[in-house]
């Protein structure tokens, strides 16, 4: 008889005690505050376990976000919207031409593409590799790659000039004999002079003046000497040949739009270049176009998976917290068996016992949950921006996420506490009171 009543009591409790009644039943609150005041240690320990659960969860989520931020940051160093095109050897016969034909980009390709896609492009630059040259600095022979580029190349690669300046438009038009070197070269070769700016290097008998030093995320990319493309083509017999064409696209509203924009531009550019060079439309080889954005999408995918993983770990932490709360409440009920028996003998109704236990536990979980939340959020707020670990940047947590976590914990704690609370109503009065 008692057993089948339990569910009815529980329902009766929630029906009789809708929110307003719970909130404004001052007698009940006084009773609970009395209980808490007189059981400080127990309440403190319960609260501590909940607070540290929330604390761990929030810190974990914070670091998850930090790693995401970190990866995004590392990735942003290279302009993520850059698109590169380069020629290859064809693999299919087309319009009477044999496969295995070497495609060569020309200045006209670059100029035509620039005119056709003017609207879509933010920055553009061709590039040639200057081959078979000897580089000398004084009596020292240097082994570095030399590339001819346009001024906008620095934006496509995301260079920052640490000294002097990059190649400008005037250098390009006037076939300036100027060179920009990577920071690594400065450190390796020009360590004895105060600044490499103004120093002369000899490239196959032609004197170039160093005008700038650039900085790149990747050290290998710093072992390169850039000269104006016009100079490279004219002086080193490059004629109008180009090795690569590179572009960046203007920033898009959001990530998906940026990817769509990049894919569209990439397809159009390839279609145009294939047509120009009579490459079969279905030939995978011949003309290659690569979009950093599509690569970026993969990285974002990884951080998304990571976020998922952290949520999983966070979820487990919550479950652990809930089990902890439920465990403590079971102990509370056991510890208070006698008290519950006394209350029942004095006329406490079953739902008042359930209500008392649940009310107290929800109150304690909520308060300590918020304490843990505030403490961990404060920690992230003040320490977060100073975290200097690679791939972790500004760990932080969305307040709404953390807040709903606390809510979930409180609700789950209450649910977990329901079993002990119902068990409490089954306490047999005479047996529980008979012996010490």
């Amino acid at each position: 008889m008692w057993d089948d009543c339990l569910i009815r009591y529980t329902l009766a409790y929630f029906i009789n005690h809708q929110t307003p009644t719970i909130m404004f039943d001052i007698e009940r609150w006084q009773e609970i505050f009395d209980t808490i005041r007189k059981n400080k240690l127990r309440t403190f320990l319960t609260g501590l376990s909940v607070a540290s659960g929330i604390f761990i969860l929030v810190i974990l989520l914070g670091f998850g976000q930090g790693m995401r931020n970190g990866i995004e940051h590392e990735f942003k160093q290279d302009a993520t919207t850059s698109i590169w095109a380069w020629p290859e050897i064809t693999s299919k016969a087309y319009q009477g031409l044999n496969p295995g034909r070497v495609i060569q980009f020309k200045n006209t390709d670059y100029e035509m593409a620039g005119r056709m896609f003017k609207e879509d492009i933010e920055y553009e630059s061709p590039r040639v590799f200057v081959r078979s040259v000897n580089i000398n600095y004084g009596s020292e022979s240097l082994v570095y790659g030399i590339r001819g580029v346009s001024p906008e190349f620095q934006f496509i690669e995301g260079f920052s000039t640490v000294e002097g300046r990059f190649i400008n438009y005037k250098d390009e038009v006037s076939l300036g004999k100027v060179a920009v070197i990577g920071k690594k070269i400065k450190e390796d070769v020009f360590k004895d002079v105060e600044s490499p700016i103004g120093e002369i290097i000899d490239i196959s008998g032609i004197r170039f003046t160093i005008i700038g030093v650039f900085n790149e995320q990747n050290e290998r990319e710093e072992e390169v000497i850039y000269i104006p493309i016009s100079t490279a083509q004219r002086v080193f017999n490059g004629n109008d040949r180009l090795d690569t064409m590179s572009y960046t696209l203007p920033p898009a509203e959001n990530f998906d739009e940026a990817v769509a924009q990049a894919v569209k531009f990439k397809d159009n550019l390839r279609e145009y270049l294939k047509k120009e060079h009579k490459v079969a439309p279905d030939d995978e080889s011949g003309v290659r176009v690569w979009s950093a954005m599509e690569e970026a999408k993969r990285y974002y995918g990884i951080t998304n998976n990571m976020k998922l993983f952290f949520w999983f770990v966070g979820g487990c932490t919550i479950i652990a917290g809930v089990v902890g709360v439920s465990n403590i409440m079971l102990i509370v009920v056991k510890e208070r068996t006698r008290e519950i028996g006394i209350r029942k003998a004095l006329g406490a109704k079953p739902w008042s016992i359930v209500g008392m236990i649940l009310h107290e536990s929800i109150f304690v979980t909520a308060i300590s949950g918020f304490a843990g939340l505030i403490f961990s959020m404060a920690l992230l707020e003040f320490v977060g921006p100073h975290v200097q670990i690679e791939y972790v940047k500004n760990p932080s947590v969305n307040f709404n996420v953390a807040f709903s976590t606390v809510m979930v914990l409180v609700v789950a704690g209450a649910l977990a506490g329901l079993v002990p609370a119902l068990r409490a109503t089954r306490v047999q009065v005479i047996e529980s009171l008979r012996d010490e």
């Binding site: 007698e27 028996g341 003998a345 004095l346 006329g347 406490a348 008042s352 009065v429």
Partner: protein
């Protein structure tokens, strides 16, 4: 006040059935002071459980103050318990983190009496058991006799029809036992109906009637000349 007719109760212990109460017939008028005696296993605890509405009989009738006690939901039982009955226990059963005053006020909380009125009433009852100046003390700061007097004040606070005392002197020395019995007698003098479960002869003889229970049946039920506890105090 209390009327029991042909009360049966058995417990199932695995495959065995233990017949504890085998047809109890018992009546108590208002203002009676009855001692229920019997050795352990005689069924007196079970009887007290049923009288206290903490357990249900298998068959038989139970009427308390002309209210038939049957088919009770646990909530209804709790209501009746609060309204009709006051409990006094062997081990006092005060809530150890509540002061004497708060313990006495607890049944009034379950009667939904306001906090202020509760405190006044509780203090009044504490005064009647002579512990007004101990109101703010915790049970751990009280002697055994004092604790039982607080428990009696608590049982009285709800102004019940019947007081059920389960071995009220079982944990006390003789002198304190007599003090407690003196208090119970005085409460009875005011017209309260009291049932005392005990196995001590001298305590039983301080009541007005002794009911002997053996193996689930009443073997003896006699009125006696009450021994006043006052003379031993």
């Amino acid at each position: 006040m209390i009327e029991i007719k042909d009360l049966h109760k058995s417990y199932r212990m695995g495959s065995n059935s233990l017949h504890v109460l085998k047809g109890i017939n018992f009546t108590a008028e208002e203002g009676e002071l009855v001692a229920i005696m019997g050795s352990s296993g005689s069924g007196k605890s079970t009887l007290l459980n049923i009288l206290g509405m903490l357990d249900l009989a298998d068959s038989g009738e139970y009427t308390l103050d002309n209210v038939p006690i049957k088919d009770l939901s646990e909530t209804k039982a709790a209501q009746y318990r609060n309204k009709f009955l006051g409990f006094i226990f062997q081990s006092f059963n005060l809530i150890n983190y509540k002061s004497a005053l708060e313990n006495v006020a607890l049944p009034l909380y379950y009667q939904k009496v306001g906090r202020k009125e509760r405190q006044e009433k509780a203090l009044n009852y504490l005064e009647r058991v002579g512990l007004k100046e101990w109101a703010t003390h915790l049970p751990s700061e009280l002697s055994g006799g004092q604790k039982q007097r607080v428990a009696i004040a608590r049982a009285m606070a709800a102004e019940p029809k019947v007081l059920l005392a389960d071995e009220p002197t079982g944990a006390l020395d003789s002198k304190t036992s007599y003090e407690v019995m003196d208090l119970i007698q005085k409460i009875n003098d005011e017209g309260n109906t009291i049932l005392v479960v005990t196995h001590e002869e001298d305590i039983a003889h301080m009541c007005k009637r002794i009911v002997h229970l053996k193996d689930g049946v009443i073997v003896e039920d006699k009125k006696i000349e009450q021994v006043r506890a006052q003379q031993y105090v």
